[in-house]
C-alpha cells in the first residue's frame, strides 16, 4: 500500500505541477460525458509511463535528466498545440500520442524510483507504484471533467474556457521550456 500511495501522491503533488499541467492539457477536448474515452487516454499514458520508468530505473535507457525534463515541458506544449489545431475535437486513433508522451514522462521518474526501491523490492513495488499513478491520474482527470461540466452549465461556453486554459497552459509550458533550456 505504501508504494501505491506514493504513486498517487506523485501525481497529486502540487509542487511537481508539470504532471498536473500535462493532464490538464490532455483532457482539454473532453467533456464529462466522454469520461470512458478520457480514461482510455489516461491508461495509454500510464502504460507508456510504466514501461519507460522501468527502463530508466534499471538503466536500460540512460538519458540525462535535464533532457527528460525539457522533453516533458515540450510534450505539454505539443499537446495543447495538437488540440488547438484540431479545434478541441477528440481525434480517434490519436490515443497513441498519449502513450508516447507517457514514455517521456516515465523517464523523469526513473531515478527517483531506483533511489527509493531496493533490489528485493524493485519489481514488487513497481505494480502498486504504477497503479497509484493511474489512480492519481483518474482522480485528477475526473475532477477536471467535473469542472468542465460545471463551467458548461454555468457559462454555457466551454470553447472560450478551453481557449483560455490553452493559453495559460501554453504560457506556463513555454516558460518551463525556456527555464529548462538554461541547464
Amino acid at each position: 500500500m505504501f508504494y501505491f500511495n506514493l504513486g498517487v501522491r506523485h501525481i497529486t503533488d502540487l509542487e511537481a505541477y508539470d504532471h498536473m499541467l500535462f493532464l490538464l492539457a490532455l483532457t482539454l477536448p473532453f467533456s464529462f460525458g466522454q469520461w470512458k474515452a478520457t480514461l482510455k487516454w489516461i491508461t495509454a499514458f500510464t502504460l507508456g509511463h510504466s514501461i519507460s520508468l522501468a527502463l530508466a530505473a534499471t538503466e536500460v535507457i540512460r538519458i540525462p535528466s535535464h533532457w527528460v525534463e525539457l522533453g516533458i515541458a515540450i510534450t505539454i506544449s505539443m499537446t495543447v498545440g495538437y488540440h488547438l489545431i484540431n479545434g478541441f475535437k477528440v481525434v480517434q486513433g490519436a490515443i497513441w500520442l498519449s502513450g508516447i508522451f507517457g514514455l517521456i514522462h516515465g523517464l523523469g521518474f526513473g531515478s527517483y524510483y531506483s533511489f527509493i526501491t531496493q533490489n528485493d523490492s524493485f519489481w514488487w513495488a513497481w505494480i502498486p507504484f504504477n497503479l497509484g499513478i493511474e489512480a492519481g491520474q483518474v482522480l485528477v482527470v475526473l475532477a477536471l471533467l467535473f469542472v468542465y461540466w460545471a463551467v458548461e452549465k454555468i457559462l454555457r461556453n466551454t470553447k472560450a474556457t478551453k481557449w483560455m486554459l490553452s493559453g495559460m497552459i501554453l504560457t506556463l509550458s513555454i516558460q518551463m521550456i525556456l527555464d529548462r533550456l538554461s541547464f
Partner: protein
C-alpha cells in the same frame, strides 16, 4: 533544481528523499541502520552546521567530517520502543557515485527478540531543516517482516510501527 555554488557535489535530482533501513541484529543485540541520501543534500546540511565557522564541508578532514556526521545524525534520528528511548550512535559513512550511506546503531541491551515487539516510534528529521519538502522513507525489518512508510512534514516526521 537550482545549484548551490557552495556545494561541490553535483548530482542532479528533482526530489528530496532519503531511504533508511532498520534491521534487528540478534547476534550483536543491536538495531543497525543505514541511511541512503544524495551527496549534494548531505553536503548542504553539513555546510549549514558549519555556518558559524569560516570553513566549508569540503575543507574538513575525515575525522572532522565523521564528528559532524555523528552530531547531525544523532540529532535527527530518534528511536523508541514502547516509550523507552534508544540511543542512536553514528557508526560510519560510505560514499557511492550518486549517494552517501550513513551507518548507525542502537543497542537494545539484554532484551530478547520477543521483548522487541510492541510499538516502535521513529522520528526522522534528517534534512527536513534544509528542505521543506523532504521525505524520509523508513523500512523497518523485524523477525522476517518488513514495514515501509515515510516521515514527512504531514506526520511531523514521526512514524509508528507495531510488531
Amino acid at each position: 533544481m537550482a545549484q548551490d555554488p557552495t556545494v561541490h557535489t553535483k548530482v542532479r535530482h528533482e526530489f528530496y528523499v532519503t531511504v533508511t533501513d532498520f534491521h534487528i541484529d540478534i547476534e550483536k543485540r543491536k538495531i543497525t541502520g543505514l541511511v541512503k541520501t544524495f551527496p549534494d543534500d548531505w553536503e548542504r546540511a553539513m555546510n549549514a552546521l558549519l555556518r558559524e565557522k569560516v570553513i566549508r564541508y569540503v575543507q574538513l578532514d575525515s575525522n572532522q567530517r565523521a564528528a559532524l556526521h555523528a552530531q547531525y545524525l544523532e540529532q535527527h534520528i530518534q528511536l523508541d520502543l514502547n516509550g523507552e528511548a534508544m540511543a542512536v550512535e553514528y557508526f560510519g559513512t560510505s560514499t557511492g557515485p550518486d549517494e552517501v550511506y550513513l551507518l548507525f546503531m542502537a543497542e537494545y541491551g539484554d532484551k530478547e527478540l520477543e521483548d522487541l515487539s510492541g510499538n516502535w516510534t521513529i522520528t526522522h528529521t534528517l534534512l527536513a531543516d534544509i528542505y521543506p519538502s523532504q521525505e524520509n522513507i523508513v523500512i523497518f525489518h523485524y523477525d522476517g517482516r518488513k514495514r515501509t512508510n515515510s516521515c514527512r512534514e504531514s506526520n511531523e516526521y514521526r512514524l509508528n510501527f507495531d510488531f
